[in-house]
């Protein structure tokens, strides 16, 4: 391809990437290293329906002056990254020095918001991803072996969890596991403990979230694998059958190797998605038990006082986290690409 052809071919994509990926990232990085000016506080008398009171307020004219001089705010460098509500380097060091055992250190560590969120997010990501791949694959193989007339119907039903909006899916399950809900009652009956509440126990909440995560993402894996199954070479399968391979052996030695690249693809997408888990936490109202980096961003932005620098910092940390998660795969792709030239 001539260079100019390539350029014009690639230009729209490049422009879109610049506009929708590069600039926003520059914007959040900038916001994460600048913080608002120091507020000029004054005492003032405030009156209202309940009488007057001397209170602290922000001196608008003085603050306005500061803002006009430096519209970006104060330069903070990595201060926000290392503060207690993010990476908390100081607190982690302190905990390391003060703890006598590794267990004590970890219990101190998960008391810090960032590490608590990491504990949940990583558990969620690494449990959900393999299970949803396995479930999606099993459903794809099962549907593929059905009679042609049933296939359409079964595909529709298998896709339902993906069709239902995530928040609604989470809410449905949330009501079912309520201590007065169908599943909540059943579980407390089975456990012979009338006071048992799924929503009050951290391990049970985590399990519910993970089950929801697998349920809602398995259809994605299913669709990809089902498409892949249509391309499995029939002659290889037939020769395997002639050799006397059982159905399991056919799957293990013919189908799975054929679908391996697709599994990598699904794993990549799902690792990224699950690392940014948010909807189930909101839908299950599980903020007391499970947090993620995305839920921190939401909290920062929806409080009465918005913390934009903190939200931007968490966003940058999320990007770094995703990059680290994907790095093994990315390195391999890069090697394959380099190797492909020979």
């Amino acid at each position: 391809m001539r260079h100019s052809t390539f350029f014009w071919f690639f230009a729209p994509t490049a422009a879109a990437m610049l506009l929708f990926i590069f600039f926003p990232i520059v914007s959040i990085v900038t916001q994460s290293i600048f913080v608002p000016h120091e507020a000029v506080l004054i005492e003032s008398e405030n009156c209202g329906p309940f009488g007057c009171k001397i209170e602290t307020t922000v001196d608008q004219s003085a603050t306005e002056q500061l803002r006009r001089e430096k519209p970006l705010g104060r330069f903070a460098g990595t201060e926000i990254y290392t503060d207690r509500n993010h990476l908390a380097f100081g607190e982690v060091g302190e905990a390391w020095r003060a703890s006598e055992s590794l267990g004590a250190f970890f219990s101190e560590l998960v008391d810090l918001p960032f590490y608590r969120a990491m504990a949940f997010t990583l558990t969620y990501t690494f449990v959900c991803t393999p299970f949803l791949i396995m479930l999606g694959f099993a459903v794809a193989v099962a549907v593929n072996s059905l009679h042609a007339r049933l296939k359409g119907l079964m595909i529709f039903f298998s896709l339902l969890p993906m069709i239902v909006p995530p928040l609604i899916g989470a809410l449905v399950l949330f009501w079912m596991i309520d201590s007065r809900g169908v599943l909540g009652q059943l579980i407390s009956f089975l456990a012979a403990d009338p006071g048992l509440s799924l929503k009050a126990s951290t391990p049970l909440v985590w399990i519910s979230l993970i089950v929801y995560g697998i349920w809602s993402s398995a259809p994605f894996a299913f669709v990809v694998f089902y498409a892949g199954l249509q391309t499995v070479p029939q002659d290889t399968l037939e020769s395997a059958q002639i050799d006397g391979a059982t159905r399991w052996q056919q799957i293990r030695y013919v189908v799975i190797p054929h679908l391996a690249p697709l599994m990598t693809f699904v794993a990549l997408i799902q690792l990224m998605d699950n690392f940014r888990v948010l909807e189930p936490i909101i839908g299950f109202q599980a903020e007391a038990h499970a947090q993620s980096l995305s839920s921190f961003i939401l909290t920062d932005l929806s409080g009465e006082t918005q913390q934009l620098s903190s939200a931007a910092t968490t966003s940058v940390l999320t990007i770094i986290g995703v990059a680290i998660l994907l790095s093994p795969v990315l390195v391999r792709t890069w090697r394959d690409f380099r190797g492909g030239g020979h």
Binding site: V35, P36, H37, E38, A39, L41, I42, E43, S44, E45, N46, C47, G48, P49, F50, K53, E55, T56, T57, V58, Q60, T63, E64, R74, A76, I80, D83, R84, N85, E91, D111, P113, D178, S179, G195, L196, S197, K199, A200, T202, F284, Q285, A286, E287, A288, H289, T299, L301, S302, G303, E304, T305, Q306, Q307, S309, S310
Partner: protein, 408 residues
């Protein structure tokens, strides 16, 4: 001739009487605010004005959009309906204007106590008051032979008796959902214990003290009598529990108490037993464990003077005395409007005000503390850490946030 004159006089009288209510504006008005019934009424009242377009965007997510929607020049919203907690964000960002000149020109019908003045300037006009207070089941208390509780200690005793007599398993309702609600319940109880949130005159937090620990222990004791899912219950969920007849005692918002039992499917027993009382005190204190709130409207700074004037006229029209003459509307809130006659549903809020309750603090950094409390107290309530540890976490989370925002 006589008839003609009479008809003319009548027409003139009619015209002049409608013109007293008519509202003519010359520039656009755009309102953003929360969505509960009283605010819907105010929004609809402003839309009665003619001459220019009046649009409203009333949503529970108003706080996420009001600062952004008023920061531009010209601002998208010409008025934001806020409360004493949320006006702070608008003040901090300097997006609302002083209203003194407009009050002098068009605010004749407003009462002095409706004007919210900050540092000598009128920054908002309040139209309703709100507070959390006790609602209870009179029939259940009669059964156990107890008076409505005046203190949280009484509430615990009543709850224990209701449970022991097998009337209800979890008789206490509480909006203890992790986040804003849980933090608000802490604020109430901490104020009831005589606690101060900050070292006087500074933005330095101080909640990790005896009052803080006592507050958390009382909240924990109450939670023993709540539905085990209490950390997911906001005031909608506690209301549902009350309506279903599962709860006999709870601390509820005045703005929601009036319509609490007016939902479909509420049993007659719950309806007839419904009663309202003032807020409770705790630990022998005299200040009720609650906070007083006002809701009011502001006018944006970054708009033309014509738009500001039109906004002021339309909003004043929306809260004129006869806007609440209708009985259904009068019941929607404890209005701070001239001529308002308290309905029976308002006794809780009035009792709160008369008992000398503390208004929710209008401090620039109170919102940051509220967020920190909401995030860090859940671990204690779930039994995962000590009260001291939870309060130390709150202080650390607040301090980091306050440093970022330039308050420390």
């Amino acid at each position: 001739m006589f008839l003609k004159k009479f008809a003319l006089a009548g027409a003139v009288a009619l015209l002049s009487s409608t013109s007293a209510f008519a509202c003519e504006i010359g520039a656009r008005v755009s309102i953003v605010g929360n969505e509960f019934p009283a605010i819907q009424t105010v929004g609809a009242g402003a839309q009665e004005c003619s001459g220019a377009e009046v649009s409203t965007n009333l949503t529970a997510d108003h706080q996420k959009i009001n600062v952004a929607g008023m920061s531009g020049n010209p601002a998208e919203y010409t008025s934001a309906i806020v409360a004493n907690s949320s006006i702070v964000a608008l003040m901090n960002e300097d997006v609302i204007r002083p209203l003194d000149d407009l009050v002098a020109k068009h605010g004749g019908g407003l009462q002095k106590n409706q004007l919210i003045t900050i540092n000598g300037k009128v920054m908002a006009v309040a139209f309703m008051a709100n507070a959390q207070h006790l609602v209870y089941r009179a029939d259940v208390l009669e059964k156990i032979g107890m008076e409505p509780p005046k203190t949280y200690e009484d509430m615990l005793a009543a709850a224990a008796k209701i449970r022991d007599m097998g009337i209800m398993e979890n008789p206490v309702g509480g909006a203890y959902k992790a986040g804003w609600n849980l933090a608000q319940e802490f604020n109430n109880m901490y104020i009831g214990h005589g606690g101060e949130f900050f070292k006087a005159g500074t933005a330095e937090v101080s909640v990790n003290n005896e009052a803080g620990v006592a507050t958390l222990n009382m909240m924990k004791a109450l939670s023993e009598y709540m539905n085990p899912d209490f950390l997911t219950h906001d005031s909608n969920a506690t209301n549902a529990e009350y309506r279903a007849g599962n709860v006999a005692l709870m601390n509820m918002w005045g703005s929601r108490a009036a319509t609490l039992v007016e939902a479909e499917g509420v049993s007659d027993e719950v309806k007839s037993g419904f009663a309202i009382a003032g807020p409770m005190t705790v630990a022998g204190g005299s200040t009720p464990a609650t906070t007083l709130w006002w809701d009011g409207w502001t006018v944006a700074k970054n708009i033309s003077d014509e738009e500001a004037e039109a906004t002021f006229i339309a909003m004043t029209h929306a809260i004129r005395p006869d806007a609440i003459a209708d009985e259904a509307k009068a019941k929607e809130a404890v209005w701070l409007i001239d001529g308002y006659e308290p309905t029976p549903a308002a006794v809780g809020v009035f009792a709160a005000a008369q008992a000398g309750s503390t208004p929710y603090p209008m401090l620039p950094f109170q919102g940051l503390l509220h967020t920190a409390l909401g995030a860090e107290l859940a671990d204690f309530m779930a039994g995962k850490e000590s009260a001291e540890q939870a309060l130390a976490d709150v202080e650390a989370a607040y301090t980091a946030a306050a440093k970022e925002k330039g308050f420390l």
